[in-house]
């Protein structure tokens, strides 16, 4: 499915909303977004568009029990603890 396809973006947004409802109040989650596929350190590894759950510490990952994909959109974890600047 092409990232430019509006159907893809509709699905991606719905999937993001599901994840947000489930996880955004988790104290270990710092952001949920849609973006390029990255490794855990946040470095881009491909042009594929994925759902990204940003977590404050690697150890939190196990507690979240994330699915591999939602609505056909892959889910990836990024470790990043964003602070107001």
């Amino acid at each position: 499915m092409s990232p430019e396809n509006s159907e893809f973006w509709d699905k991606a947004r719905q999937a993001r909303d599901k994840l947000t409802d489930q996880l955004l109040n988790h104290p270990g989650v710092s952001l949920i977004d849609i973006g390029y596929e990255v490794n855990e350190k946040g470095q881009k590894i491909s042009n594929h568009i994925v759902l990204r759950v940003h977590i404050r510490q690697a150890s939190i990952r196990e507690t979240l029990k994330l699915p591999a994909e939602i609505e056909g959109v892959p889910v990836r974890v990024v470790i990043a603890d964003y602070k107001l600047e």
Partner: protein, 341 residues
């Protein structure tokens, strides 16, 4: 020097108290005392006449004074309100412990012309963020500055009318550096954004320091190359690698979410995306200089920045970006530029 007759001195002190009640918190005023009148026409000689002396940073004269009175009637010292001779003295008195100040960083100094990318804070919080840029109310056309809620307000209790300083308090800003008053914010719409109405004490231009003029607004998109000018990290460049994110935050004691979050990564791994103090700066599309996002957070390892899409921010606050080239507000009166205390 002649002795002062005690009754006259008491009357002078009463007049001084009255003058202090009227003018001590006028940002022009540096001291109010009782003393001998200083004769300007005699080269600053001390006279034999007792006066209430109102000391000010700058004392405009002649046509400059007339222009100043017209633009800032609230800052004028009316001698007729004091039932005693009043002398206006031009003098500043920096605190002595400030004898060898560390020079503030370039973006932390006083800017006589306000623009994006420079230090600001509100009057409550000892910190600094970035003045984002110039906007206007969609209904009234009033000119305002747009930045982050956590810089311009920073508390669910922050009232409308809270003073905004340039530079920010942690850069030495204080009451006399008030350039705007908090008007409204968009936290209730899930956006860390706020606007403050300019006082008109300084002129404002559509410019991002060391980047240039903002040409309008557009939605940020994945892969877009962007640039920003901020108090913390100056000019940085990056690429949008994530869009439409949601960020958790506590507001008024309750968990809330910031919406329309976009993530910016540096163009090379050695570059910086942002730094503390950049909050409120505007990310612009690098090629068109259109504002695409309002910066509010970041992370150092790896270097990343978070910003909210600009169009929903503008809609929530009911403002438009000012794209004109001409300065807005007052033109600084020669001799009346703010000075650092």
């Amino acid at each position: 020097m002649q002795a002062v007759e005690p009754r006259l001195f008491r009357k002078a002190c009463q007049a001084r108290d009255l003058a202090a009640a009227f003018y001590l918190f006028n940002p022009r005023v540096t001291l109010i005392d009782v003393g001998w009148r200083i004769e300007e026409s005699q080269g600053g000689q001390i006279s034999q006449d007792l006066a209430v002396r109102v000391h000010v940073h700058r004392k405009p004269r002649g046509p400059v004074l007339e222009a100043f009175a017209e633009r800032h009637p609230g800052l004028m010292i009316d001698k007729n309100r004091i039932a005693f001779p009043v002398d206006i003295v031009e003098a500043s008195y920096p605190l002595q412990w400030y004898w060898d100040p560390v020079q503030p960083p370039p973006r932390g100094r006083i800017f006589t012309v306000l623009q994006g990318g420079i230090s600001i804070s509100n009057e409550w919080l000892y910190n600094y963020g970035t003045l984002g840029g110039l906007v206007e109310d969609r209904e009234t056309g009033e000119k305002m500055i747009l930045g982050n809620w956590h810089v311009l307000a920073g508390s669910a209790y922050a009232p409308r009318g809270l003073g905004i300083y340039q530079p920010g308090r942690a850069d030495g800003g204080s009451f006399q550096h008030t350039i705007a008053y908090l008007e409204r914010h968009a936290m209730n719409q899930g956006l860390d954004a706020a606007v403050a109405k300019l006082t008109g004490a300084r002129s404002t231009i559509n410019n991002q320091l060391d980047v240039g003029r903002v040409s309008g607004e557009t939605l940020p998109t994945l892969g877009m190359k962007v640039v920003k000018s901020g108090r913390g990290s100056s000019v940085t460049r990056g690429m949008i690698d994530g869009v439409e994110g949601e960020y958790p935050i506590r507001y008024g004691g309750l968990p809330r979410k910031i919406k329309h979050v976009h993530r910016v990564v540096p163009l090379t791994s050695t570059d910086e995306a942002s730094r503390g103090g950049d909050s409120g700066s505007w990310w612009l599309e690098q090629d068109t200089k259109k504002a695409v996002a309002l910066h509010f957070a970041g992370f150092d390892s790896p270097e990343t920045a978070l910003a909210m899409a600009m169009p929903p921010v503008l809609d929530a606050l009911n403002v438009n970006i000012v794209t004109e080239v001409e300065p807005v507000g007052v033109t600084p009166v020669p001799g009346m530029e703010p000075i650092r205390i």
